[in-house]
Amino acid sequence: MPPFDLKDRAAIAGAGASAYGRRLMRSAIDLAADAIAAALDDAGLARERLDGMIVTFGSPIGADADTLAQVLNLKLRAYNQTWAHGRFTASAIQWAALMVAGGMADYVACLASVSFSGLRRPMMGGAGNSEGAREAGGSHGEDPVFGMTSPGAGAALVARRYFERFGATSAQLAAIPVAFRKHAALNSAAIMREPFSAGDHQASRFVCEPLHLLDYCLINDGAACVIVTSAERARDLRKPPVHIAGMQPLPAGREEFIWAYPGFGVAQQSVFDYDAGAPPVYKMAGVGPRDIDALFTYDAFSILAWMALERFGFCKPGEAAGFTQDGRIELGGALPMNVNGGLLSEAHIMGWNHQVEIVRQLRGECGPRQVAGAEVIQWANAYGDSLIYHR
């Protein structure tokens, strides 16, 4: 047993977002201000009470935490920030829960803002991609010497291996972006809302083969924020608390590759038959995969949805290709996924837009795309971290 149990001790008290768009031509600081103000308003919390912040994607694309504190005149007792990667969403919420439990802050704004349109040099691949310059290589497999660049290329390497190892096809993978686009069509905040077919997916150009353009998420502008506090404090605020029942932290090591679970056999991973076993997030929350009413995942590239499903035991390795067919992951299916439209179609706010959607779903605020009777929703990722939320 851990020294103290965090199950249901922390909650999301407020969630908010800026507008999302391809080219808003607004400062990341401006977008972040919209998201923070919207989250505070949602919680019914005065800004003077906000005393903590964690940012997961800062300069030069997003606004840094210390910048926001200064420019927006926030008095933060505690703040932290990860380096500019999308993978730290659950980490930030977990650390915020620890900060709140330890009395380091009472209300922690967790967020990212991005303004890709304001950037002079493209960062997602090419000479502006600092990942490729990291000693010992980039974390998505970047090796610019051989032209290997961009997070999507690492996902393409995983997709090719998946197709080869399990006999799956790109045509099956189409089910992921097709489903998420259907969801985005029901979401007025989503950037891309026009439905497309599996055939359209197959006909779209290759970016990094075997991934097509429609396997790639958006590169866009926007900000999204949630406010973490104790469950006790959350009860006294404007909206019903969304409790954090389960947490599984982000692993690292030689057996990990950001887009693949252990045993998959890319980068320097070993090759073995992965067995999800009983992921700790379910043990902590006291539920299992069958209790999950909706699943949200970091879908920067469509293949990541398959990897997340297999990593967390929704199906066995190699089975996600079949599991995701015939509407199972669509609204009304047995396991609706990324009902907001995901990074693929709503917006790429580093997963923070997904957290905002989870909160709204659990409050029943989602209108035409509401998951009926949603009580337990999971955030679970190809790279192995997870959160389980409930009303």
Partner: protein
């Protein structure tokens, strides 16, 4: 020398004190990997100690240069001016006989002919006057 460096339009490796022996060996047309003097492990990328037993008794020793294609991608989009003329170009992950995997470009094989498990061997590509790259081609006489 300087003129040659300027002529090379592709990204250059990030050579550090740690991985310099790898790049220096390629200049001599040798593919080398680190090897642990205690437990015999071979690995990539360069590490200051053996990743398995943490021994500091490590050395750079020649690798066979033979391996198999583990996975691969084909770039249809340009990210670097230096690669523009080669689009669509492949990037392959080759698993060496010794175990570690290297990213590389396969030469002498069309993008549509690349197969998982294909046996390949190293080719030393003198990319610039001061830079040799380890590329791979289908192994002659391999099944």
């Amino acid at each position: 020398m300087a003129a040659n460096q300027d002529d090379y339009a592709k990204p250059r490796p990030a050579i550090s004190a740690l991985n310099r022996p790898y790049w220096d060996a390629l200049r001599r047309r040798e593919l080398v990997l680190q090897r642990c003097g205690e437990c015999g492990m071979r690995w990539y990328p360069a590490a200051p100690l053996c990743p398995r037993c943490w021994s500091r008794r490590i050395e750079w020793t020649p690798a066979s240069g033979r391996g198999r294609v583990n996975s691969w991608v084909v770039f249809h989009q340009s990210y670097f001016r230096g690669f523009d003329a080669e689009i669509p170009y492949n990037v392959a992950e080759v698993e060496l006989e010794e175990g570690p995997r290297l990213l590389t470009n396969l030469i002498g094989v069309g993008a549509g002919e690349i197969r998982a498990g294909m046996e390949v061997e190293v080719v030393f590509d003198d990319a610039a006057a001061d830079l040799t790259l380890a590329k791979f081609r289908p192994r002659r006489g391999a099944a």
